[in-house]
């Protein structure tokens, strides 16, 4: 797929003919320098934006022609999101934030037990009734991970999940994501500019000037086309 912003002289190609597939259970890093197009790529995969050319297939579904409501429903059921800043709704408690995707899906019955288990797994069992703005940044990211997993999504998408955290907390969040991915056989696609925080992962895709390369950025990289 390609993503082009603007027209004529103002045309900017953010993603240039990028194509790859990810298998279930893989932990994939998308790395690249600032402005390389990695967040744009994540937004395409997350159906938050549309490619100018090309298609995104998730769990066997061509998402190109889905209506806005279908895309919302698809995001709700098939995707989990973790963002860099303020992931949570500050008007709700931590538990309510984790339950929100289930409420939106209309499958709230019996969800609370699941949410409590997830919060326990991410180490927030003693924080779940606090308002989301009363917990630390690291705890908020943990809660976001729990929320991202509550609907058993096909993919969890994380956009710079450690970008706003100190190094100690970042390491804990990375460990947590990797543990959850392994334990739940959960696909994670993580965008980061900080490759070394993540250690060993299943795959690394590097975005450079809108093009995608398999592996770490180097002269021997295999272009993903």
């Amino acid at each position: 797929m390609s993503k082009i912003y603007g027209e004529g002289e103002n045309k900017v190609t953010a993603l240039d003919n990028v194509s790859f597939s990810i298998e279930k259970g893989e932990f994939v890093l998308i790395v690249g320098s600032s402005g390389s197009g990695k967040s744009t790529l994540l937004n395409m995969i997350g159906l938050l934006d549309h490619p100018t050319i090309g298609k995104v297939f998730i769990d066997g579904t061509d998402t190109t022609n889905l209506t806005d409501d279908k895309i919302s429903s698809f995001r709700n059921k098939k995707l989990g999101f973790i963002f860099q800043f303020s992931n949570l709704l500050t008007d709700l408690t931590v538990l309510e934030n984790v339950l929100l995707p289930r409420e939106i899906a209309g499958t709230i019955n019996s969800a609370e037990k699941n949410a409590r288990e997830l919060l326990k797994a991410v180490g927030l069992s003693d924080q779940m009734n606090k308002r989301a703005n009363k917990i630390s940044g690291g705890q908020a990211q943990r809660a976001a991970i729990a929320r991202g997993l509550i609907n058993n999504p096909a993919i969890v998408l994380a956009d710079e999940p450690t970008g706003n955290l100190d190094s100690v907390t970042s390491a804990k969040i990375v460990d947590l994501m990797k543990t959850m991915a392994k334990n739940l056989n959960q696909t994670f696609i993580v965008v980061t500019h900080d490759r070394q925080h993540f250690g060993d992962v299943d795959r690394v895709i590097t975005i450079k000037d809108g093009k995608a390369f398999e592996g770490n950025a180097s002269s021997e990289m295999e272009v993903l086309v």
């Binding site: 938050l48 806005d68 409501d69 709700n76 999101f81 963002f83 949570l88 500050t90």
Partner: protein
């Protein structure tokens, strides 16, 4: 229903915005209630005083001239109807009056003069209660002066002697001397402040209209039966050229201008409510702008545009419901205060305050609906935010 819970949380966590929006609705409703209490109260007070002092609930006159039928038979006919409290005849004309006081002659012409039957008049009308000094007409040579007439006659007082001249039905001057027995002054001036009152039989003698009356004033126990009584009467006396009117009909000329004034004041009240709606639009827009990132997060985790629309419309409903409740309570509080204190301005006539439940409920519902309508555009704007753009807002 998570949208309602979220709407409540978002709103109650922004107490300043909530209070501002609720105040806007409250003030809109309060303006309408205050307008109603003052202007409708004033209107109803004028109607009340015209009814109590002059026209009764039903006023019988003759289509052409004077009522020649015996006033006693008419009064007893009316008083047989259970709805009727009392009835009384009156005779009206104009007179010239003069009085010499401290060697100076004071003279006034074209003063309205009303002849009353003292016994029936006290039962039918409350105008006798406006006699602030002395007492009401009680004998054939006693006269009650309206306060303005008394002032124009050089501050006439009870016990003074005055000379009154009228022109009888044959064009002859009829002059008679009276003793002032009372001075009438009504709050608001709807009573006999600009008239003089004498015994009806005395006036009949002077006008040479024995047994005749200008009108029969009928007061009812239940004013809502005025039309029934009027119709009974007209059916009972089909060939007598009688004209019977309810208070709304007989006072129409005096009230027409006031009625359109009230309509205009009500319009101003509703414009006030529209201003409240604009305030809600502004506050809701602020709430939407303040929640842009949250809207983006909700959209990213699967909330549809409709879900977002519902959340902000719920906020409008909450604002409308609280505002309508508080505004109606404040309006009822003001109405209660005005009623209990018999509110009046500058010692003028006390307002006739009533609880118009239909209007109260209508105003509350209207403001609730307006708050929802005012929330539609901000809610629609919220749905138009693209998740990826919304989440860039920090």
């Amino acid at each position: 229903m998570y949208q309602l819970r979220l709407a409540k949380r978002m709103l109650f966590n922004k107490k300043g915005s909530l209070i501002g929006a609720v105040l806007a609705v409250t003030i809109g409703i309060l303006v309408i209630h205050v307008n109603f209490v003052i202007f409708q109260g004033l209107f109803d007070a004028i109607v009340r005083d015209i009814s109590n002092y002059r026209n009764g609930d039903v006023l019988v006159t003759d289509e052409e001239s004077y009522i020649t039928k015996s006033d006693k038979s008419l009064v007893s006919w009316f008083e047989r109807i259970p709805y009727v409290k009392a009835a009384t005849p009156r005779l009206s004309s104009t007179a010239s009056i003069n009085m010499t006081k401290s060697g100076t002659l004071h003279e006034k012409t074209r003063i309205p003069i009303v002849g009353v039957d003292p016994l029936n008049d006290i039962r039918t009308s409350t105008v006798h209660e406006t006699v602030s000094d002395g007492q009401y007409v009680y004998s054939r040579n006693s006269i009650v002066l309206g306060s303005n007439v008394a002032r124009d006659l050089g501050d006439a007082q009870v016990g003074d002697s005055i000379k009154l001249k009228i022109v009888d039905r044959y064009g002859q001057d009829q002059i008679r001397r009276f003793v002032v027995t009372g001075i009438a002054k009504s709050p608001g001036g709807q009573g006999f402040d600009y008239s003089v009152v004498v015994h009806i039989d005395t006036l009949r003698d002077m006008m040479n209209r024995h047994g005749e009356s200008s009108s029969v004033m009928v007061k009812l126990n239940d004013p809502s039966k005025a039309n029934d009584v009027k119709n009974f009467f007209l059916v009972a006396f089909p060939n007598d050229d009688f004209k019977a009117e309810t208070i709304e009909e007989s006072a129409e000329e005096q009230l027409a201008g006031f009625r359109s004034g009230i309509a205009m004041i009500n319009m101003i009240g509703y414009f006030g409510m529209m201003s409240s709606a604009f305030a809600i639009v502004t506050i809701q827009m602020m709430l939407v702008n303040g929640k842009t990132r949250e809207i983006g997060i909700m959209r990213s985790i699967g909330a549809t545009r409709k879900d977002i629309l519902i959340i902000f419309i719920f906020q409008g409903m909450i604002i409308g419901a609280i505002g309508a409740g508080v505004g109606t309570a404040a309006g009822l509080g003001y109405t209660f205060y005005a009623k209990e204190t018999k509110m009046s301005f500058n010692n003028s006539l006390p307002l006739e305050v009533s609880y118009n439940w239909e209007k109260i409920i209508q105003t509350a519902i209207l403001s609730f609906i307006l708050a929802i309508i005012a929330s539609l555009y901000p809610s629609y704007r919220a749905t138009k935010l693209l998740p990826v753009e919304a989440m860039r807002t920090v």
